[in-house]
């Protein structure tokens, strides 16, 4: 068997583990456009904060590939695919034959049109992180655009370095996708107390460049926020260009619970995949680490002839916001329909909200009381009944 894995991050590595477990002899080739072994993107904010050394960013050492008998084509981009012939085309002209192919190309940072100038960076690669860390250590003023989880984590990391950043969120509150209003406001207060300048509802108009590089950012209301470095954290989008036109793609590459795409022999996993959710109600792209690991494992097992199923996407996030643990999971929006409601409890700095549909819990926000997160997640996965015994409200 010829296995080809495109992308060697969380999903790709986990698939390699799974394939080797079942097939000790098959040829595994891994293709990745980054020339060094895989590193953890999730750790980048921790690296900026100085909690993780640069060498600890790497998920595996180069010896890993050797010990697993994996042929590595690092620093090479995959450019095309012929599912009929089962061939993968590489940028250097080589053609790889495969029996089963895993597309784990991941996601790229969303880049707004105004940001294609100097002094603006994203936070997706190791180079981005090094640049941000160096700028912060040199005492530059940093503005973060985007009030999502990455933006907030970066703000906390910079604060740990002694730099007080400005956080610009285009929505009326920070973390609007992953928290409810109450939790957002509590976290915003918490950030403000620690000195982070948070501005919500701030739409960026353009970058003000001077003779010495970026001097500030002009908002759509006309005001200017001075800065020397602008970090754009506006989320990620799946990198589907390799397979577009060959496979069914919506936002990400559509897969079933076995991580199979619409074409036989081709699998997708990780941030690039759009897979069914745990309720079986729709498909979702979920760019979180545990999903990538699990999906990679499922894909690898199925590629090597085993049988495994991905239980479905359950969106979730956990982070430490300056000493305040924040966890959210599942469905957070409560539609004004019959059967939906939410219950909440607030005691001092601890806040808990459960979203209930019918009799079942389908979502939760926990601020300052994270120890309940695991049992609640288990309850959501089991169908959501019996949450009353977990949470004395």
């Amino acid at each position: 068997m010829n296995y080809v894995v495109v992308g060697s991050s969380a999903a790709g590595l986990s698939a390699i583990h799974a394939i080797r477990k079942l097939d000790p002899c098959g040829n595994i080739t891994v293709v990745d456009e980054e020339s060094r072994p895989a590193y953890s993107r999730v750790l980048l904010t921790h690296y900026i904060a100085g909690r993780v050394a640069e060498r600890d960013l790497f998920l595996v050492e180069e010896a890993f590939y050797r010990s697993y008998g994996v042929r590595t084509l690092l620093g090479v981009r995959a450019t095309g695919l012929d599912p009929g012939r089962r061939q993968l085309y590489l940028a250097d002209g080589r053609v790889l034959d495969y029996d089963s192919l895993l597309v784990a190309t991941g996601a790229r940072a969303v880049v707004p049109s105004w940001s294609r100038t100097g002094g603006v960076t994203g936070l997706r690669t190791r180079e981005d992180a090094v640049r941000i860390r160096n700028a912060a250590l040199a005492g530059r003023r940093v503005v973060i655009v985007g009030g999502g989880p990455v933006g907030v984590k970066l703000a906390c990391a910079l604060l740990e370095l002694g730099v007080t950043p400005t956080l610009l969120a285009s929505s009326p509150r920070i973390l609007s996708q992953v928290a409810d209003r109450e939790a957002s406001l509590m976290l915003e207060q918490h950030l403000l107390r620690h000195g982070v300048r948070v501005r919500c509802g701030a739409e960026v108009g353009e970058v003000a460049a001077g003779p010495r590089g970026t001097e500030g950012v002009v908002l759509s209301d006309g005001s200017t926020v001075p800065c020397q470095l602008l970090v754009v954290c506006k989320g990620v989008e799946p990198r589907t260009e390799l397979v577009a036109g060959h496979l069914a793609v919506r936002r990400g590459v559509l897969v079933d619970n076995g991580m199979r795409t619409s074409v036989p022999g081709v699998y997708a996993a990780g941030d690039v995949a759009e897979s069914p959710d745990i309720w079986g109600e729709g498909t979702r792209v979920s760019a979180i680490w545990p999903h990538a690991v699990k999906q990679g494992k499922v894909a690898g097992t199925n590629m090597a002839g085993g049988r495994d199923l991905f239980p479905g996407v359950l969106p979730r996030n956990a982070m430490d916001v300056l000493g305040m643990p924040f966890v959210s999971m599942g469905l957070l929006h409560v539609p004004a329909a019959a059967g939906w409601r939410s219950v909440s409890r607030r005691r001092g700095n601890s806040y808990l909200r459960l979203v209930i549909r019918g009799e079942s819990v389908v979502g939760a926000v926990l601020l300052g009381c994270p120890q309940l997160a695991g049992p609640i997640q288990a309850a959501i996965r089991k169908g959501g009944r019996g949450w009353e015994q977990l949470v004395p409200l």
Partner: protein, 154 residues
Amino acid sequence: MEKFLVVYPDLCTGCRQCELACSYHHEGVYSPSLSRIRLVKFEDRCLNVPVVCSYCEKPPCEALCPTGAMSTVPEGPYALVREDRCIGCKECVHACPLGAVQLHPGSGVAMRCDLCRGDPACVKVCAAGAIRYEPLDAAVREKRRARATSLNPL
């Protein structure tokens, strides 16, 4: 009529064919450690007891499973382990009062009798008739007869 896997220990010869058949049916190999039915031998009492899931009405293994991997299938009265959900926490192993739930030594997921979806392989190979797949009243009749015989030695 609802049928049950009923075990008659004093008929059991300890040949372990049930373990081998179970292992082959579920795993494709002959390995007693992969069997859902397990034989316990008491050499001093000349007693062999095949132990298998008794399909409790309120299964503690299902109640304690944190992920919902232990479940009775809605379309039939068989219990399946949803292996994709099982995290190998061993709660079911500790919960089972019979010791009838085990962990797969290789994959680490729970193993529990699924009655071969209605056609138990162990019953077919049991030459001594110690494992039967029969309605409960047949088992109760047998038990009554055994008890009555011991009261009135003929």
